[in-house]
């Protein structure tokens, strides 16, 4: 370092070192106590009876069926919410229409009400005593205590994830690129596939990852509509509860470790996508702010 640089080096500002270390220590202790310890306990409890028992639990037909149902529910609700999310975000970000703010608020609704109530709604509508109950019974259709109910409840609970991720992004990007595509002769589809989608792909992926994590992990709403029929309407989180209530603690933790593992994978993916957002070129996700563009002059 040259003398000049030493002189120009900024003086440290902010709290004295002791305070800073103390704050860091508190934060780390908190994370260890509330995140790391429970995380480790899941895996230690799961493996308490050995690897043999662990895999035996996972191979159990009831567990396999719960995993299958969870995959089905997520497999249906995530693509649908992806579609709804893009459509809603598109409408809100690119068009002005009456009731826009109401729509914005409604999208957040699933976040602001208890999941149990989300489940109750469907029971009240489609349950045997519900509005459409008698009609559904007459036509031999089952929604509550069956797979369709679980899918519906999952869709409801995970509805906001994709839309919430895309709305601010699309609003920030504005409409001009789409307008440019139109003037250049692109049809509506071409505009969407060649301009809109590439611009939102990382935001969309981010939303899908979060949506998927919630869809697989949802307990409350699904619990209300499922009926807990082992082997038929049991998802992974519900299965964990059943095992736990039957005093099969290591079994419960073994299945729970699947969800924990999913959470870790989600976290990794999320971090990776975030890195790509702001990554080196970052052209799709970090537009140069207008102000900067205007003043950007090659020296």
């Amino acid at each position: 370092m040259t003398d000049d640089a030493k002189i120009n080096a900024p003086h440290r500002i902010g709290e004295p070192p002791l305070v800073r270390r103390l704050l860091i220590a508190i934060a780390l202790a908190f994370i260890a106590l509330f995140l790391i310890v429970p995380l480790l306990s899941v895996f230690t409890e799961a493996l308490r009876q050995g690897l043999g028992f662990y895999f035996q639990t996972l191979r159990d037909p009831m567990t396999v069926s719960a995993i299958e149902l969870t995959l089905i529910a997520a497999g249906i609700s995530v693509p649908l919410n992806c579609l709804f999310g893009v459509a809603a975000a598109w409408a809100i970000a690119k068009f002005d229409f009456p009731g826009k703010n109401i729509l914005l608020t409604l999208i957040d609704l699933p976040f602001s009400i208890s999941p149990v109530i989300s489940g109750m709604i469907y029971v009240l509508i489609f349950g045997a005593q519900g509005w459409f109950g008698p009609w559904l019974v007459d036509h031999n259709l089952r929604i509550i205590f069956a797979v369709p109910g679980i899918v519906l409840a999952t869709i409801f609970v995970t509805f906001p994830f994709v839309a919430r991720e895309l709305i601010p992004l699309m609003q920030a990007q504005g409409r001009t690129e789409e307008e440019a595509a139109r003037v250049l002769g692109a049809s509506g589809w071409q505009m969407f596939w060649r301009v809109t989608l590439p611009n939102i792909k990382w935001g969309l992926l981010y939303g899908v990852i979060l949506c998927n994590a919630r869809a697989m992990g949802e307990f409350g709403a699904v619990s209300v509509v499922s009926g807990h029929i082992q082997g038929r309407t049991n998802t992974i989180p519900l299965h964990v509860q059943i095992l736990y209530e039957n005093n099969n603690i290591p079994g419960a933790f073994a299945v729970a470790s699947l969800l924990t593992f999913l959470a870790l994978v989600t976290l990794l993916l999320k971090t990776w996508v975030e890195y790509k957002h702001t990554g080196l070129r970052g052209t799709a996700f970090t537009p140069v702010p207008l102000k900067k563009r205007q003043t950007e002059i090659p020296a």
């Binding site: 001009t176 690129e177 307008e179 440019a180 595509a181 139109r182 003037v183 250049l184 002769g185 692109a186 049809s187 071409q190 060649r194 301009v195 590439p198 611009n199 070129r281 970052g282 052209t283 799709a284 537009p287 140069v288 207008l290 563009r293 205007q294 003043t295 950007e296 002059i297 090659p298």
Partner: protein
């Protein structure tokens, strides 16, 4: 053969952006739409491109005689360069320019070879060859503007529409781009409309200038015509600095203070109050009173820096302030000092009949 709009009215809620606008741009002409912000110039451009639709009625947009009013933007074949370029940020320069060719329907889409040739041509024309692989975020403002233009030209548009083409770059690049646009237009001779709020830009680049105010075209003409013969006080004021002198009109003269000055045209008013418009460079300053043709004033400030000297003066009779511009030569001959009393002579005095205040 021309691009023509007729009876265009466009309202956004209570705001009237365009009010019965008619405009005809001849084939190959370069026309500037000049006006302050909110005057409707960008809206007019967007209506021509098909990005906005005029409010019903007798509105018509014609491209070379063909009525395109109901045709969507994607089929109008207008080239549009947006104010902030709107380059596709996920595509490199080459692909940005090729976009319009790639989205054509299969029947008319050129082959890969032809696309390469066409884009290569445009890269060359716009001096963008070394930048073909770059992404928009890696370009300077001036470079982006050229890419935006090349992209618009790639589809061989019938008309080129530029929204504030030099708005978002700094003053130096702006001058270069202006010259470059003029040169480009001479080379390819495409009917072009561009929007600007900078009068200097409009006067320098355009064949004809249309001045907009509150959704109406206030005046249209060649740069010389509108500069020398502004049709209204608004145009006069908008095209450059101006001094206002209140006085009285009488038989082809205007009386300011106690001095009579000749006026080129009057609307036949006799003996009414009027405001005379004089540009700062049409003011001459002398030390000697010149009979009936001058009035006395006092110099408040002198600034001799630059090619023209700027003076600030005060009328002795009513204390009205005005500005004068002298050439370097005149300034050095006269050597005016602040606080000094001088005599003022006015040339090219113009009066307008309507009431107007700036």
């Amino acid at each position: 053969m021309s691009v023509e709009v007729k009876n265009i009215t466009k309202k956004f809620g209570d705001f009237t952006a365009l009010d019965q606008v008619n405009l005809k741009v001849e084939s190959g002409e370069l026309v500037a739409l000049l006006g302050p912000s909110g005057s409707g110039k960008t809206t007019l451009l967007r209506v021509i491109a098909g990005l906005e639709f005029p409010d019903s009625g007798a509105a018509q947009v014609l491209f070379y005689g063909e009525d395109v009013t109901a045709i969507p933007a994607s089929q109008r074949k207008a080239g549009f360069a947006f104010q902030h370029y709107a380059l596709f940020r996920h595509l490199n320069v080459f692909e940005n320019i090729a976009f319009g060719l790639r989205v054509r329907p299969k029947a008319t889409r050129p082959g890969e070879e032809q696309i390469r040739a066409r884009v290569g041509e445009l890269l060359k024309l716009n001096q963008l060859e070394p930048l073909a692989k770059r992404f928009p975020s890696q370009l300077s403002g001036g470079q982006r503007q050229r890419v935006a233009l090349a992209r618009a030209l790639a589809v061989e548009p019938k008309v080129l529409l530029l929204d504030e083409p030099f708005g978002a770059v700094d003053a130096k690049v702006r001058k270069e781009l202006r010259r470059w646009l003029r040169k480009l237009h001479e080379e390819i001779h495409i009917t072009t409309l561009f929007v600007t709020h900078d009068q200097e830009e409009a006067l320098e680049v355009a064949d004809r200038v249309a001045i907009l105010r509150d959704g109406r075209i206030e005046q249209i003409g060649t740069p010389e015509e509108i500069y020398d013969n502004p049709a209204s006080p608004f145009v006069y004021d908008f095209l450059g600095n101006v001094n206002l002198f209140s006085g009285r009109v009488r038989e082809g003269t205007v009386i300011i203070g106690e001095t009579e000055f000749a006026v080129e045209e009057t609307a036949g008013e006799t003996d009414t109050d009027a405001v005379a418009f004089v540009r700062p460079h049409d003011i001459r300053i002398t030390r000697e009173a010149n009979g009936q043709k001058t009035f006395p004033a006092r110099i408040l400030r002198c600034n001799g820096a630059g090619p023209l000297a700027n003076l600030e003066l005060e009328r002795l009779d009513n204390g009205g302030l005005f500005a004068a511009q002298l050439s370097k030569e005149e300034f050095q001959q006269l050597q005016p000092k602040a606080g000094e009393q001088v005599f003022v002579e006015l040339k090219n005095v113009k009066i307008f009949s309507e009431d107007f205040s700036i």
